[in-house]
C-alpha cells in the first residue's frame, strides 16, 4: 500500500511524516518530489501532504503549490475515494485547491504560534477518527496561518454533515474561545470533505507519535489513515 508523501520546494515536515508512517504495519510511505508531476502518483494508494512552507509561502500559504501539475493527480485520487491527509501547510494547500472548503487566515495574534494543544475528537465516526470518538487528544501546533474561516453556508453544511473531526479544547474537553489558539471559527482544527476521504488539519499528528516526544496520540489518526487504504 503505497503512500505518497509529497514534497514541494519548501515543504519541511516530510521526514516527520515518513518516520511516523514507517512505524505502522502495512504502510509503505514514499517521498514524492512535486516536480515528478502526475507520474509521481501513478503507484499511490493514498497521499499525505506534509507541513512546511511550500514555495516559501511567499504568496498566500499553499497558493503556489496548489496550482502545480501534481495536484491534478491529488484531485483524481480524491475523486477515486483514496485517503488523503493534508497537515498544516498541507491543509492550506487542500483549501487552496478547493478540495476542502474555506480558507486559513493569519492567526488572530498575527504571530506564528508553536505550542501543545488539546483536541476534542467528534462523536461521530469518520475514516480518520475511528475508535477515538469523543476523546481528548494532545498534539502540537506550529503555524502562522491556521485561523480557519468559511462562509455561513459552508459552516452549516460542515456541521450538518458531521465533517468537523477536530476542535480545539482544554484538557477536560471544554470548547471555549480561551482554548482556541488562532481564532478559527467554532474552534475548528480540522475538517473532512463530503466523501469523507480527505482530511485537512492544522495540528501535527506527525509530531506526536512516540511517548518520548510528549504524546503518541497522533499515531492513532495515522493508523486509521493506513487502515482505510484498500
Amino acid at each position: 500500500m503505497t503512500i505518497a508523501v509529497l514534497r514541494f520546494p519548501g515543504t519541511n515536515n516530510e521526514n516527520d511524516v515518513l518516520r511516523a508512517l514507517s512505524l505502522i504495519d502495512g504502510a509503505d510511505p514514499v517521498l514524492v518530489p512535486s516536480r515528478k508531476g502526475l507520474a509521481g502518483l501513478e503507484e499511490a494508494d493514498a497521499i499525505v501532504i506534509p507541513g512546511g512552507f511550500s514555495y516559501g509561502d511567499y504568496l498566500r500559504a499553499g497558493a503556489v503549490a496548489s496550482v502545480e501539475t501534481i495536484t491534478e493527480g491529488v484531485r483524481n485520487l480524491a475523486e477515486d475515494g483514496k485517503p488523503i491527509i493534508g497537515i498544516c501547510n498541507g491543509f492550506q494547500i487542500l483549501t487552496e485547491m478547493g478540495l476542502l472548503p474555506g480558507v486559513l487566515l493569519p492567526n488572530k495574534s498575527a504571530r506564528f504560534i508553536c505550542k501543545w494543544i488539546y483536541l476534542k475528537v467528534c462523536d461521530n465516526t469518520t475514516m480518520f477518527t475511528e475508535g477515538m470518538e469523543g476523546r481528548v487528544i494532545r498534539v502540537p501546533i506550529a503555524h502562522a496561518e491556521g485561523n480557519y474561516y468559511c462562509s455561513d453556508d459552508e459552516r452549516e453544511s460542515l456541521k450538518d454533515e458531521l465533517r468537523i473531526p477536530f476542535k480545539y479544547c482544554n484538557e477536560a474537553g471544554d470548547l471555549d474561545d480561551a482554548f482556541n489558539p488562532n481564532g478559527s471559527i467554532d474552534n475548528i482544527a480540522g475538517i473532512i470533505n463530503q466523501k469523507g476521504n480527505v482530511l485537512g488539519m492544522m495540528p501535527h499528528p506527525d509530531r506526536a507519535y512516540r511517548p518520548i516526544l510528549g504524546s503518541s496520540d497522533g499515531l492513532a489518526i495515522l493508523e486509521n489513515f493506513v487502515r482505510a487504504i484498500k
Partner: protein, 722 residues
C-alpha cells in the same frame, strides 16, 4: 576600514600599490570579524582538546563524538550590528549564516538556539527591535524546518544602541561523511551554488568591525537579506551531494563573501585559487568585480569538486533547480587570483590575504575594583509585593511570548522543548543531548573574569539539574571596541574566566565567535554594552535516562537545597530590582563547591532519587522555587530559618545568587539514600520544606497563590508587546 599601518604592510609585501579589487578584499579579510586580530592571541587560555573532540575551533563547526558512529556539530555566531539596523533581516540572516556553518561541514542541522540582549522594553524602539528580531528568527528558522531548542534573553540600558543577536546551530554527521573546509588538490573545480550574488551585504564585516555612528541608517545596504526557501533547497541538494561523496571540500559564503570562502579553503589546503568573477551567477547585471568578490549575499555555498565528479554535481544542481556557477580552479601557486573576462583584477598571496595582517597592539586596562559593601541592602517592607516585583521583572519573567513563535518540534526529535533548564534533542543513535546557554552580563560588568566563569557555571548547572553530563562548550564573546583599553581589559579578563572554567571542569571549547565594537557614540559619549560572553554548553545523557524536568511532580515530597548560601547580593537581580542598578563584588566563582554539588546531583540522578530539580541562579532560591511550581499543579511550604551558609536575613536567603546550588524534589522513601550521597561528596544540604497539594507558595513569613504569581510572571513581557 584598513589602517594606515596595514596599508603600508600590504604595499611592502606586494612591492606595489594594491588594486581597487585587492584593497576591498584586504579590507574585508583583515577586519576584526574575519581576522580575530585582537582576540586570537588569547585563545591559548581555552581548553580545546578532549577525547571526544574530532574537530575543534577553526572551521565552520566543531565536531564531537557522541558514540555509535555519530558526531554532534555545533557553531555559534553573532549578528549584532545588522540586527540593530534592520532587526528582521539581520536576525533572519544570522540564523541563515549559522545553519550554513554547520551544513558546510557535512552535518544535518537539527537544532537552533538564540541568545538575545536588548534595552528595556519601556522604550518603544527596544520593543520594536525585540518584536522584529524574534519575527526574523521565527520566519527563517520555521521555514527552513529546524526547531529552536534553547535560548536566552536579558535586558539592560547598555544594549539600547547595540542589541545582541547570538545564534547557535546544532547538527550531526557520521565521521565518514564529514566534509572539510579545505582545497587540497590543484586542478579541482570551484563550484558555487545555492543563490545568485547581489549587492546586499557588501562588506558587512567591515561595518560590523566599527562602532556605530549617527549615520547608521546609511549602512542598511550592508545588511543581507535572507531567503529560507533557497536555504531549504540548498540543504536538500547538499544532502544528495554529500551522500554520493561528490565533494572534496566545502565552505559557506559568510562574512567576507567569496574572498573569505575561497581564501580560507586555499589557506587550509596549502594551495591557491583562480576565480573568474564573470562566471558568478548575478542578481544584478551591472555589478563591479570588486563588489562580486566581497558581496555577502545569503544562501551560497562554495564546493571543491574533482574533475571526474563535475558532471554528476552539475546534474544534481540542475535537477534541484538551484543557481550555480563553475567559477574557477584550485591552483598550486599559493595566490588568490581574481579575473574579469580574462583580465587579472587581483592577485594576492593567500598567506598575506588570510592572516598576513600586522598584529595590532592592544592595551588592556585594569577593570575598576568593586567593594564588598552591602550598604545599599534593605529587607523589603512587603515581602510578597517584593517577590511579585521580582517575578514580573523583565530579566526573570516568562519568556513564552518569545519562544511560542519558534517551531520547537519540527523534525520530531525534540524531547524537551523551551521553558525548561535545557532543551533536549534525540540523535539518530538514540542518545539524548541537552543544550543550554547562559550569561549574566551584570556579574560580567562588575567582574568580567569571575562573572564569566560563574555564568558558565549556571549553564553547567542547567545541564546537571536535568541529568546530563557536560561534554562541550561553544561561546560568543560580545564586547566593546578593542582599541579602547577599558573594553579590551574587560574582554581579556572574560577570556581568562572562560579559560579557567573550561580547564577546571575539563570541558573543551569547540566553537565560537568574537563580536567586538559593540558600542555607540551617543551625544558625543561612548555607550558600551555590558561584557556579554555567551556560553553555550551541551550535555549527554546515559542511554535510557529520562531527562528530569524542573516542574514539581508530587505533593508531600521533600524539597532539598544543596550547597551553601552566602550573603552574595551585589550584582544580583534583587539589587537591580530594588535599587535600579548593580554594583559591588558579584557572586564568586568557586569551582570546588560547584563540583561537589554537581557530583551529588549526578549520582542522585543515576540512582533515580530526584523527581524534579532546578539550578539556583538569577533571582536566587525564591525564583528557582517559583519556577519549579509555576508550571506544575502544586505549591510548597517552607521553613527558611536554617539553611547552610552565612546569609543571615530572609531576603538574603531568598535572593542571594551564590553559585553551586541546586533544589531537588525527593520523595520521603528516597530521602536517606539521597542524604548519604550528599555526605559522601562533602556538600551541604538542608530540607527547605515540602511540596503541597494547594497551589500556594508559602515561605513561612509570607505566602502567595500560584494564580497571583502566574499572572505577574506571564505578563512581564506581554505588557510591552501586546
Amino acid at each position: 576600514m584598513i589602517t594606515k599601518e596595514e596599508m603600508e604592510h600590504a604595499r611592502t609585501v606586494l612591492g606595489r600599490e594594491p588594486t581597487e579589487t585587492e584593497l576591498g578584499m584586504l579590507d574585508v579579510l583583515w577586519s576584526e570579524h574575519c581576522s580575530y586580530k585582537s582576540s586570537k592571541r588569547w585563545f591559548y587560555l581555552f581548553k580545546t582538546k578532549g577525547d571526544r573532540v574530532t574537530l575543534g575551533i577553526g572551521e565552520g563547526a566543531g565536531l564531537v563524538d557522541i558514540g555509535d558512529g555519530y558526531l554532534a556539530g555545533v557553531a555559534m555566531e553573532s549578528h549584532n550590528h545588522p540586527s540593530q539596523i534592520d532587526p528582521f533581516n539581520g536576525a533572519a540572516t544570522g540564523v541563515g549564516g549559522i545553519i550554513r556553518d554547520v551544513i558546510s561541514q557535512g552535518c544535518k542541522a537539527v537544532g537552533l538556539m538564540n541568545c538575545l540582549r536588548f534595552g528595556h522594553l519601556a522604550k518603544p524602539h527596544n520593543a520594536y527591535l525585540l518584536e522584529n528580531v524574534v519575527r526574523g528568527i521565527s520566519e527563517y528558522g520555521n521555514s527552513v524546518g529546524i526547531p529552536v531548542v534553547g535560548g536566552e534573553l536579558e535586558f539592560d540600558d547598555s544594549y539600547d544602541d547595540n542589541c545582541l543577536v547570538n545564534v547557535v546551530c546544532i547538527g550531526w554527521v557520521k565521521p565518514e561523511e564529514v566534509v572539510r573546509s579545505s582545497a587540497k588538490t590543484p586542478g579541482h573545480h570551484l563550484v558555487m551554488f545555492g543563490s545568485t550574488t547581489g549587492r546586499d551585504g557588501i562588506a558587512g564585516v567591515s561595518f560590523a568591525s566599527e562602532t556605530f555612528s549617527d549615520e547608521e541608517e546609511e549602512n542598511r545596504g550592508a545588511v543581507q537579506v535572507g531567503d529560507p526557501l533557497s536555504k531549504k533547497i540548498v540543504i536538500d541538494t547538499l544532502q544528495e551531494l554529500i551522500e554520493e561523496k561528490l565533494l572534496d571540500g566545502l565552505q559557506d559564503f559568510g562574512g567576507g563573501g567569496m574572498t573569505s570562502a575561497a581564501g580560507e579553503l586555499a589557506r587550509a589546503g596549502g594551495t591557491g585559487v583562480e576565480i573568474d568573477l564573470d562566471k558568478v551567477p548575478l542578481r544584478e547585471a551591472d555589478m563591479k568585480p570588486s563588489e562580486i568578490g566581497i558581496s555577502e549575499s545569503q544562501e551560497r555555498m562554495l564546493a571543491i569538486v574533482a574533475p571526474e565528479n563535475l558532471d554528476r554535481v552539475v546534474l544534481l544542481l540542475e535537477k534541484n533547480g538551484t543557481p550555480y556557477g563553475i567559477i574557477g580552479k584550485v591552483t598550486d601557486d599559493g595566490d588568490y587570483t581574481a579575473k574579469w573576462h580574462g583580465e587579472e583584477k587581483a592577485r594576492l598571496p593567500i598567506s598575506l590575504l588570510v592572516d598576513g595582517f600586522p598584529v595590532p597592539e592592544r592595551i588592556e586596562s585594569k577593570v575598576p575594583a568593586q567593594t564588598e559593601s552591602m550598604a545599599w541592602f534593605k529587607e523589603p517592607e512587603d515581602y510578597k509585593k517584593n517577590l511579585l516585583d521580582m517575578l514580573g521583572s523583565d530579566n526573570l519573567c516568562d519568556r513564552s511570548w518569545v519562544y511560542s513563535q519558534y517551531d520547537q518540534h519540527v523534525q520530531s526529535n525534540t524531547v524537551v522543548d523551551l521553558g525548561e533548564n535545557s532543551g533536549v534533542l534525540e540523535f539518530p543513535n538514540g542518545r539524548k543531548l541537552a543544550f543550554t546557554s547562559d550569561c549574566n552580563s551584570f556579574w560580567c560588568l562588575l567582574d568580567p573574569q569571575q562573572g564569566t566563569a560563574n555564568s558558565a557555571c549556571e549553564s553547567l548547572r542547567n545541564l546537571v539539574a536535568m541529568g546530563a553530563t557536560p561534554i562541550f562548550i561553544a561561546d560568543c564573546l560580545n564586547f566593546g571596541n578593542p582599541e579602547r583599553p577599558e573594553s579590551y581589559g574587560q574582554f581579556v579578563e572574560s577570556v581568562r574566566g572562560l579559560g579557567r572554567f573550561s580547564n577546571d571542569f575539563d570541558i573543551p571549547i569547540v566553537g565560537g565567535n568574537v563580536s567586538l565594537y559593540n558600542e555607540a557614540e551617543v551625544d558625543g559619549e561612548t555607550k558600551r554594552i555590558n561584557p556579554t560572553p555567551q556560553i553555550m554548553i551541551a550535555g549527554i545523557f546515559e542511554k535510557g535516562f529520562t531527562p528530569v524536568r524542573r516542574n514539581l511532580v508530587s505533593p508531600w515530597a521533600n524539597i532539598f537545597l544543596i550547597g551553601e548560601t552566602l550573603p552574595e547580593l551585589n550584582g544580583s537581580e534583587y539589587q537591580r530590582v530594588t535599587t535600579g542598578r548593580v554594583k559591588g563584588i558579584p557572586p564568586r566563582y568557586k569551582p570546588e563547591p560547584e563540583k561537589r554539588a554537581m557530583r551529588v546531583i549526578q549520582e542522585a540522578h543515576q540512582k533515580g532519587l530526584i523527581r524534579s530539580c532546578n539550578n539556583v541562579g538569577r533571582g536566587g532560591i525564591a525564583i528557582a522555587l517559583m519556577k519549579m511550581a509555576l508550571r506544575s499543579e502544586y505549591g510548597f511550604k517552607l521553613n527558611m530559618d536554617y539553611i547552610p551558609g552565612t546569609a543571615n536575613s530572609l531576603a538574603q536567603r531568598l535572593y542571594s545568587e551564590t553559585s553551586g546550588r541546586y533544589l531537588a524534589e525527593v520523595t520521603e522513601s528516597k530521602q536517606p539514600e539521597f542524604l548519604e550521597i550528599v555526605e559522601k561528596h562533602g556538600s551541604s544540604v538542608c530540607e527547605l520544606g515540602l511540596t503541597t497539594k494547594e497551589p500556594v507558595a508559602d515561605f513561612g513569613v509570607f505566602s502567595l497563590t500560584m494564580e497571583e504569581a502566574r499572572e505577574v510572571f506571564s505578563n512581564g513581557l506581554k505588557q510591552y508587546m501586546e
